[in-house]
Amino acid sequence: MDVTSQNFIPLSELALDDDNLQEALKQLSGRLAAGRTASVTELPEFDQLRIEARDIKNHVLEHLDLYLGAFEQQVEKHGGTVHWASSEEDARQIVLNLCRSVNAKRVTKSKSMVTEEINLVPFLESHGLETVETDLGEYIIQLRGEKPSHIVVPAVHLSKEQVSETFFEHHRKFGFNEKNTDRGALVAEARHVLREKFVAADVGISGANFLVAETGTIVLVTNEGNAELTTALPNTHIVVTGIEKIVPTLEDVSTFVRILARSALGADISAYTSFITGPKRDGDLDGPENFHVVLVDNGRSEMLGGDFQDMLRCIRCSACLNHCPVYLSVGGHAYGSVYSGPMGAVLTPQLATLDATKHLANASSLCGRCESVCPVMIPLPQLLRQWRDKESEQKLNPAGMRWGLRLWAWLGQQPAVYRLITSIANQVLNRWPEQANGFIQKLPALAGAWTLSRDLRRPEQGTFSQQYRKAGGKRV
């Protein structure tokens, strides 16, 4: 996967100074996080559902080969075809070949994070296929040539003025000669333009929120209705999905449907939940003649049986993003990956390289809010720590830090030395020149980063050990 995560620090600086983005992130937190809380509070069974969802996913992962085989069998029974892509190159090529096999010229696409991950759309376009994103947020960023900044609301970083400019630039050729600034009008404009695309498409490409092994069904969760128009109107429907999206039965997928929209948006269910099983059948009035499912590995199987297996439970709801203080400070583009926030910090190093992405697991206070809202109970802070462990093992973090920690641990084994050093430090800080009213204003080196934006209270005179001894405290 292509990433620009090595630029996390400069990108996050830019983000912190971007007033538009900061306002957008405030809206995101205010609406989605608050929405989730309300939605979850009104369902007393929610925590039980989370536990069951976690257990279903764990069961599936332990039997992933078999469930994938069963799913394939069912898809083929209903007249569809399953393709297996080990790498992102394989996946792109399979999709291109399928489009070519039906002489496709025009493609519509509903939202799919996997297709972002494998960079499918630019690839298809470079081979002469007009490929239009139909999810409104994805459509907007496609016009602007940007990457998504959120896994559910990809254009969240934009203001309506920015959207208005973009539409005005690109929609004139469709007869829209005036700039619309009203949100409703902008949506109506996109609806009109995209309606033509839906109807003219030869191929519709979708992702899948879930795959049901029992029936060979793919599940699409949207609010807009674009997934249905993308998949029902063209003659060919191609599903591009990760191998970990599978659940055993319709009953099992019901549990996930219950927790997904609540976790993502604070609604009990999305406007449309589609269960698609194979191509058009006799008696159907519409639907595609050709139905293909491309199962993408691209690093997922490598996570099985290892330290990061729990991450495969992720259902891409975005709850962790919406509650993460780091994501809410810098937005998604700073992560340099289509996957951002806590889930992106854990998944991106796996799909790209640890060297390029080493900031992501470190730029976290490990506050644990992500884990507390994850509908499938992924221990995200633990997984972030594991990446930090791997960075140390591979010496990707600064040597100074590794040595500092070693020294600290050594001091921990030498209490007398520790107390000597800390009593000296205590004296030094108490006599520190740059201070006022008991607060130090400037510190050197790494500690200088503290005093960039805050003061440090001067320590009390004497450490606890010194004061306790002086007061005659009993030591054991």
């Binding site: 912190l16 206070s365 490990l366 506050c367 920690l405 306790y468 054991v476």
Partner: protein, 252 residues
């Protein structure tokens, strides 16, 4: 060592209290003694190992854990005036030592005896603090204590018993931006988080901010002070111990 009285608490001081604000430890001792317990301070304690665990140095975190376990396992209770260090001993040590044939059992036994201060005072001691006379305060829940030890109602219960009114923050579950070395490795993001916390504190109108963790305290207090605000920031042990009558601090 001599024979310990029953119900003896070993105090795990924590690095930040040791080095920056010993008053918190003295006030913790005062509260625990007022609750009827004897408190001793094991001499050879240093750090719980959290910087190593969070810094990709699991191996040394484990070595530190073994040492802390050895130093504290013989006591009836281990009380910690910090949710994050308490969480380290109670929540992380058993995970770190799960594969250690010798220490996995010991870490579980220690975990049973470890309590963060407010949890000990409410759940074990059923302590009713003396009344404290002060204006309404606001309260910051430290993340580690909240997530790892489920500390939320306990400090509030103690404050309520002491007659202290709390004007809650709008966002009681948002991180203040400390996060150990996070605040110096990603200082601008940390500052943005601290700024949001500061604004939330100011909106409550309270002139005292109470919490149970030194890391958060130094962070939020430092930001408040840099920005020119006069909100007093204290550990709940300091607030509650203020109304304990004699004996004087530090004497056993």
């Amino acid at each position: 060592m001599g024979v310990l009285q029953p119900n003896t608490i070993a105090l795990f001081v924590t690095c930040l209290v040791e080095n920056m604000k010993p008053a918190v430890a003295f006030d913790a001792i005062a509260l625990l003694e007022d609750a009827g317990y004897a408190v001793v301070v094991p001499a050879n304690q240093v750090c719980c190992g959290q910087p190593n665990l969070n810094g990709g140095d699991r191996k040394n975190a484990i070595a530190t854990a073994r040492r802390v376990i050895d130093a504290f396992i013989h006591f009836d209770y281990v009380v910690v005036p910090s949710g994050s260090c308490g969480g380290m001993l109670k929540h992380h040590y058993p995970q770190l030592l799960a594969e250690d044939s010798d220490y996995s059992g010991k870490s579980a036994r220690l975990a049973e005896k470890v309590f963060e201060l407010s949890q000990f005072l409410t759940e074990v001691a059923d302590y009713k603090p003396s009344a404290v006379n002060c204006e309404p305060v606001t309260y910051h829940d430290a993340c580690a204590g909240l997530r790892e030890l489920d500390i939320q109602s306990e400090p509030r219960q103690l404050l309520a018993n002491a007659g202290v009114e709390i004007t809650e923050l709008e966002e009681t579950e948002s991180c203040c931006g400390f996060g150990g070395t996070f605040c110096v490795k990603y200082p601008d993001i940390s500052a943005a988080m601290a700024e949001r916390k500061v604004q939330d504190v100011l909106r409550t109108g309270a002139d005292t901010l109470v919490m149970g963790d030194l890391g958060c305290m130094l962070n939020i207090e430092g930001k408040l002070h840099r920005d020119g605000h006069s909100v007093r920031v204290i550990h709940f042990a300091e607030l509650l111990a203020a109304s304990i009558p004699a004996p004087a601090r530090g004497e056993s």
